[in-house]
């Protein structure tokens, strides 16, 4: 899903950097010492997971798990993903010029996933955490897919055709990611529930 160099137009690249700067400034204020180890571990996990390939029909897909990063780190997920994207660009995985776009695409998805995860406080039924975890994972990918389609729109490819291809591919990814995220949430709930972000209904504390 990472966009490579030379595909999207100049304005999109600029918009990507501006968006990434805005989101970074908004989410990186007053980081507590205690948060740093958790952020670094999740950054490493995000970085490594993108390298794992699952053969699928004619090509292969790789998990992204930005939803899980959002669920665990809350709003700090954005910086974790941004650092991951920067490193991946140096590994040839995604372009350097589009680091901003890729960060907004994946980091924004993580933030959205966190928002959805927080919505679980509005309802109350058995297994709501697992369900919201799965939803957060799936919708994080959906958001990323939409941003990808929007960015590709600027290349002049027929939008509807591109959008259909992108979203079609991502539907499967959404289902898989949702399932994996839900499984991780259920595991973490049993072992270390305090790792999950947003124990209080407010979104400003993490």
């Amino acid at each position: 899903m990472h966009i490579s160099d030379g595909i999207v137009s100049g304005p999109v690249v600029t918009a990507g950097f501006v968006g990434a700067a805005v989101l970074a400034a908004a989410t990186m204020r007053n980081i507590e010492l205690e948060e740093i180890p958790k952020i670094s571990v999740m950054t490493a996990v995000f970085f490594v997971i993108d390298f794992i390939h699952v053969p699928f029909v004619v090509s292969s897909i790789h998990l992204i798990m930005n939803g899980l990063v959002g669920i665990i780190l809350g709003k700090r997920a954005f910086m974790a993903i941004m650092i991951g994207v920067v490193l991946q660009a140096f590994f040839g995985f995604g372009g350097v010029s589009v680091i901003g776009v890729n960060s907004v695409m994946l980091g924004g998805g993580a933030l959205l996933a966190y928002g959805i995860w927080q919505c679980r406080h509005l309802v109350s039924f058995a297994n709501r955490d697992i369900l919201f975890g799965g939803l957060a994972g799936a919708l994080g990918i959906f958001f990323s897919g939409c941003i990808l389609a929007l960015a590709l729109l600027s290349t002049g490819e027929a939008f509807l055709v591109t959008a259909k291809a992108v979203l079609g591919y991502h539907v499967i990814l959404m289902i898989i990611e949702g399932a994996v995220t839900a499984a991780c949430v259920s595991f973490l709930l049993k072992t270390s529930p305090h790792l999950l972000a947003g124990q209080q209904p407010s979104m400003t504390t993490g």
Partner: protein, 218 residues
């Protein structure tokens, strides 16, 4: 987060990562490989995990940035085109969904535009004029005086060179291709390097934050 829980998270994350990456630590990167034979250019697009870039858009740009060839890869990720003139070529494959790769093919690799030429016309001596029927001898097999003269040495050396060049090229092409693919792969070592960098960077951040908080308290 308490020290023990933190350690549990780190250990389990690393275990999962190493278990899953030990066999295939490969990225979804589109690699392009191209080589030339004479004036034909052969292009192949593949992802670092081995999957081919099927039905992908191919474009070749000359050194002035003009498109000299364009097409679509087959389902083996390959595309063949003829180059009109010898020039540095930039070959770009776009596999859709944000995946794009480039390959620079220098003009020196492009051939002189000719395949192994036919040997220059041999000096075939004219067959002796047909004998008048009355004078036909039993020895009908008139010896053809030197049907093929020895070719000038310069030409045959050139020819030999061209043939050898072509043969060697064909022989090493799979090797070059494999070497290129290996170079593009991200190994487990690269992965660990990336993770190490993350932890190091965060560690520095932690250190400076701690110092700042320490001096704030004073």
């Amino acid at each position: 987060m308490s020290g023990i829980t933190f350690r549990k998270v780190v250990v389990s994350a690393l275990l999962v990562a190493s278990a899953l990456t030990s066999s295939q630590a490969l990225a979804h990167k589109l690699s392009v490989f191209a080589y030339a034979e004479g004036n034909k250019v052969f292009v192949e697009g593949y992802f670092a995990d081995g999957k081919k870039a099927q039905n992908s858009n191919v474009q070749a740009f000359d050194s002035a940035g003009k498109v000299v060839a364009q097409g679509t890869t087959n389902d083996k990720g390959q595309y063949l085109f003829e180059v009109p003139k010898a020039d540095d070529l930039k070959i770009v494959i776009n596999a859709g969904m944000g995946h794009r790769g480039e390959y620079m093919l220098p003009a020196s690799e492009l051939g002189d535009g000719t395949d192994t030429a036919e040997p220059p016309a041999a000096h075939i001596a004219e067959p002796p004029a047909a004998q008048p029927a009355s004078q036909q001898q039993a020895s009908v097999d008139v010896p053809k005086p030197e049907a093929v003269t020895t070719q000038p040495t310069a030409t045959s050396n050139e020819q030999l060179e061209r043939v050898v060049h072509k043969a060697v090229n064909e022989a090493i092409m799979p090797l070059v291709r494999e070497l290129d693919e290996t170079r593009q792969k991200n190994s487990l070592r690269d992965l660990l390097g990336g993770v190490g960098f993350i932890f190091g960077f965060m560690g520095l951040f932690f250190f400076f934050k701690a110092r700042q908080q320490g001096s704030d308290k004073q």
